[in-house]
């Protein structure tokens, strides 16, 4: 696991200056860039880290605290990272209670006078079923355009040495990308018959996506591998009921034994479905299917649209 991934890769995509940077996406470029005099922007989650990297380009070092394939609720940081946070010119956090493990570090940084922009304060916040604020706003790309606007403003305000024109150009480019993504998603989900726009899943992170594109999230208990080894009907009761009531042929769940789950549902509950995992709260490593925010959203859109389409 890499501790820090300064975003030189973003620069390679958004400017023509460093055309010689051919090792895009490898750790080597990242490391070469970390010992420089550029201003430091610290970002908590890797999803926001990707977006902020696209905005600042090579003008600042972006230190993302959350490693790839991690959980934003539970990752913790090293003493070295914690020490660097207080030297940041700007700290970008998700907020809305997402980064439980970082609370103390964020408070320390605030006490030290590090300006913090909380992405959650820039969006239209939804409530979860239990009435809590839902921190997973990135599943709606139109919410991310507000984040881009707000973070860009904060960067300009807090780091006067940044080239404003370049930053604003990057922001405009990225916003256009978000708008294109939104249009693609809207088109893909609109093609699904209204009565089948139901996500039977054990992930409760798609509330914003569901609200934006008129889908319904149906939470369900997915049986564990232990239960699947010698199942009884009661083990599958809730899930099979949810599937039957939703009338869908795909459920979206992480399972270490998806094939076994499909087989047991067919044998024990007479339910014929596919099991498809989605990317939820973290980007993957470069080698994975969701190394950037935009690829993550496109991958999920494709999986949902394919799974729910007739």
């Amino acid at each position: 696991m890499r501790a820090t991934i300064p975003r030189t890769t973003a620069l390679l995509r958004t400017t023509a200056v460093l055309a010689a940077g051919l090792v895009l996406g490898t750790g080597l470029t990242s490391c070469a860039a970390s010992a420089d005099d550029r201003p430091l922007v610290v970002v908590t989650t890797n999803i926001l880290g990707d977006v902020v990297g696209e905005l600042v380009g090579d003008q600042a070092e972006v230190m993302t605290l959350m490693p790839p394939d991690a959980d934003p609720h539970s990752f913790e940081i090293s003493a070295r990272q914690a020490a660097r946070i207080t030297g940041a010119q700007l700290l970008v956090s998700n907020g809305l209670g997402l980064e439980e493990g970082l609370t103390r570090h964020l408070e320390t940084a605030a006490d030290e006078g590090v300006p913090i922009v909380e992405a959650g304060s820039l969006v239209d916040v939804l409530e979860t079923e239990s009435g809590a604020t839902d921190p997973h706003f990135w599943t709606d790309p139109t919410q991310m355009t507000s984040v881009v606007d707000g973070v860009t403003e904060a960067l300009l305000e807090e780091i006067p040495t940044l080239d404003a024109a370049e930053l604003q150009a990057n922001a405009a480019t990225y916003t256009a990308g978000l708008e294109a993504l939104d249009a693609e998603m809207a088109e893909a989900f609109a093609a699904i018959p209204a009565e089948q726009r139901k996500l039977v899943t054990n992930h409760h992170v798609f509330g914003y996506l569901a609200a934006r594109y008129d889908l319904q999230v149906i939470g369900a208990v997915i049986p564990s591998g232990t239960t699947l080894a010698a199942p009884s009907a009661s083990d599958l009761d809730e899930l099979s009921t949810a599937i039957e009531e939703a009338g869908v042929r795909t459920i979206f769940a992480d399972s270490s034994q998806p094939d076994r789950l499909v087989q047991v549902l067919a044998d024990e509950a007479d339910v014929d479905v596919a099991v498809v995992p989605l990317f939820t709260e973290s980007l993957t490593a470069e080698s994975g299917d969701a190394p950037t925010y935009l690829t993550m959203m496109r991958a999920n859109t494709e999986r949902i649209a394919t799974g729910l389409s007739p």
């Binding site: 501790a3 990752f75 913790e76 009884s232 083990d235 769940a253």
Partner: protein, 441 residues
Amino acid sequence: MHRLLRPTIRPGGSRPTDDRLPRVTRTALTLGALALTLSACAPQGSASPTASASDEPRGHGYVEGASELPEPQLHLATADVDGTVELTDLLSEERTTLAELGPISALTGDGRFVAAQSEPTGTVTIIDTGVWTVDHEDHQHYYRAEARVVGEIEGDGPATITAGSTTTAVRFAGSGETLLLDTAALGTGDITQSGRIRTSPGAPGLTVPIGETVVATDGSGKLHLHGVDGDLLDPSSASVTAADAVLAGCTDPAGSITTNVGVVIGCAEGAVLALVDRSSSEADPVPTFEAIPYPQAVAADDRATSFHARPGRPTVAAVAGTSGAWLLDTRERSWALLPTPAPLQLVTAVDDRDQHVVGLTTTGDLLVLDGATGAVTGTAAALVGAADLAMGVQLEVDQNRAYLNTPGTRTVSEIDYGDAARIARTFTFDTVPAFLAETGR
């Protein structure tokens, strides 16, 4: 004058050492894990091409080489009296031998670590089964890493191991001494002692870590509050004084368990519930204490002295003499007595949506009870024999299944308590599964 054997810590089978040990690592089964986590980037200002472990970000309970998985990595740790400790993967049913320890007298687990005790030699071997669950109340995280023997602790007499989030206490009844170990260090393969508590030798008692403090009995059966260094906390501080008032009302403390609400300590009057405000960042780490008295007068033989439950749930169960089972709901701060058709030898609360309670009668029948009504919803008759009962069997529960060992037939039964005590699977062993602990929960 009789000289008490001082508890000492040593890694694996090497020589005994002093208690202020440097961080000795027993690398029994795993060296490969380290290589997986070398940083792609050298730390700033470092000449080394590899980051040290301390520079890596750490997830909750993160250790080198651990991976997070979408569902619990449930395993059964079993051991025979000759000390062969085995781990059975409940998903794949693969079995591996973790350690060959020599004669052991008990195996206890906390959902990740198991402690194998050898009374004759006074050693406790701590094994990291490499699978664990981190409970965030509204969601869980499931981790898997290599299993390994962490090391050995030496002491006098039967040991009781109580794991806390910060500190793990190992109390030796013979000497009355408790070693306080750093729980996080255990996860990285080190036995690091933060302190020790000395009480009267031979006296019954308990030592329970709670957050950054430890509640312990003294020789007279009273409870006291210590720091994780073992020192008594300043008795003049306001919070300790307040705590003392509740602790003073706990006569003859026996039995403890940690729930997602707090830590339970059994008393003659009922229970004391210790709570740590997890959202507080105050420097004063002292927990608050509440008394939960029994709803009625309870004879000494009928009081709860040993609590069991599925980890991370608020309701716990205890045998109530020959009357049935006690249920203690730590969220509601209430007791309920659940009469059973036959006296229980063991009982544990699943505390799921259907409020399942699983018990084993003194005649070897397994009962599934509805915790709300006390109705028997399932029975597996004569699951274990008299010889097994005399030897002492163990009953473990997780979110879906219960597990009971039957040394006489070299089996462990997997019981579907949600389906009228149906025997879902039976695991057969080459060695006698005299001791049982479920991990990955």
